[in-house]
Amino acid sequence: MSSPRLVNASLKKTSTSRSDLVYSGSLVLAAGLALASICAIVAFVLIEALPFFRAASWPEFFFSPAWFPGESRFGAAALLVGTLLVVLGAIFVAVPIGISAALALVFYLPQALASRTQAVVEVIAGVPAVVVGLFGLTVVVPLLAGVVPPGLGLPAASVTLGMLLAPQLIVNAAETFRAELPELLRVARSLGISRETVILHLVLPQRLRILIGSSTILTGRAIGETLAVMMVAGNVIQFPESIGSSVRTLNATIALEMPYAEGIHRSALAALAALTFAVVLALRAVVPGQARR
């Protein structure tokens, strides 16, 4: 999203000097490498999954909740539902926290405090998932055990994943709110419009699409998040019967079973990876993108 002004400036400075040629060449190379490695990963997953796709019973894979590799039963429906529920729950936790914290950072906190808080949030955003997972297991799970025993399950997974996503969401949302903000506030103040009105009627509606776009990217990450969720979700493969039910995600299955999987089981796990890909892609296709305004 570079502004035209910037591009012009850099173009003017460019001559046909060799260093720039090398520079742009290496950039193209790096981009090509990134693309090629993604293609290689997709190809690898599909090739690994091929034996399963050949032998699989498709209706079972998509509609049966019974995943018992030891008994040659590979139903991924409960895993798919589990993944979507955990991510939905995490969004439910992270979005209110993220948006309200970002509003506080941009509109309410004094400048000095806001910039320091933002720095702290950025550090928290970098905390490794396994640390957040451990926090979930030792703090969130015992707290939830009183409400939805035994504590491990959908709520714990949603809260833990939500905590993992919230800091990045705060940073993204604050960034979004801050753009063109000074002019907006100046005009509003001159018209005697309150801060709350500006937020509710101008900032939020105007930035909604961008917020949804950046949330979608985060959702992709949420679907991919494995370890922290695996520590607190309970990981029983079933359609959740109640809100406190134990759930298993697609990626948790891969992480839990891959070390011991052989033959068709291993291939079935690759098929789960392919399914994860498909879910992320479908999500990007359905939700409006960041670029459109």
Binding site: S17, R18, S19, D20, V22, Y23, S26, A66, W67, F68, P69, G70, E71, R73, L134, L137, T138, V141, P142, A145, P149, P150, G151, L152, G153, M230, M231, G234, N235, V236, I237, S246, R248, A255, L256, E257, P259, Y260, A261, E262, H265
Partner: protein
Amino acid sequence: MLDSCRSFYALRRARSPMLRRIGFFASALLFLGAHAAAEPKAAVLITGSSTVAPLMVEVAKAFEKAHQGARVDVQTGGSARGVSDCRAGLNQIGMISRDPKPDETDFRAVRIARDGLAFIASPDAGVSGLTHDQILSVYRGTVTNWRELGGKDLRIAVVSKAEGRAALELFMAKFGIKSSEIKAQAIVGDEEQAIKTVTATRGSIAYLSVSTVAQAVGRGAKIVPLSYNGNSPTIAAVRSGVYPLTRFLHLIDCGKGTAASKAFLDFVVAEAGQRFIEENQYIPL
């Protein structure tokens, strides 16, 4: 490799600063790469079961001390990885925490230690032992409260292991239960996750290896080892054969080993290695 490294290094005299920078980074990278590739192949790589791995790490340290210049790397990934790596020649020694299957005749399995399947509960369950049938009914989901087993009025949180784990296979074999019959509230992967989950979850029960339980109790983890049919899952009970839920831990050799890996195998089963196994809370043969 080194030639291209040198030619990139020559770029340091290039006129353009960008070219000089690229030359520097590329030559540094290639230099490091060449070094990694030139590393001597004398290292022994051991992969496989996460039950056996911590022990092998300790034995490896002692082996490296006793043999100048020897290097032993241990990586986990489950018994299945131990076998597949061994067949593919990706390791020199594999670790499996089960007996070799009847069709696995293409490698030599060496018994290195015993292990037992122990049941543990969280302290709030108020139970110190269970019978074979009680355990079965807990894992089948027909008994769901600790009160029915002489404990507190608390829901049982059944913890089981993920598909393919050696402890699950041993559990299924000893209890004659299929994985689809197990009604669990939580499924865990490796041994550490089992311990962490039991300490964090009220009224939970889990099964894992006796040696892991001994280690966890030794460092003060809040778990209660449950006696099975009146037999406490202690290392002594496994060793004397009183405790019935036992298995052997093996190292496997697919005939692709080096002199160093053969020396390591000998070291483990010899007296010094066995004494080491005992010191590390595992159970010697």
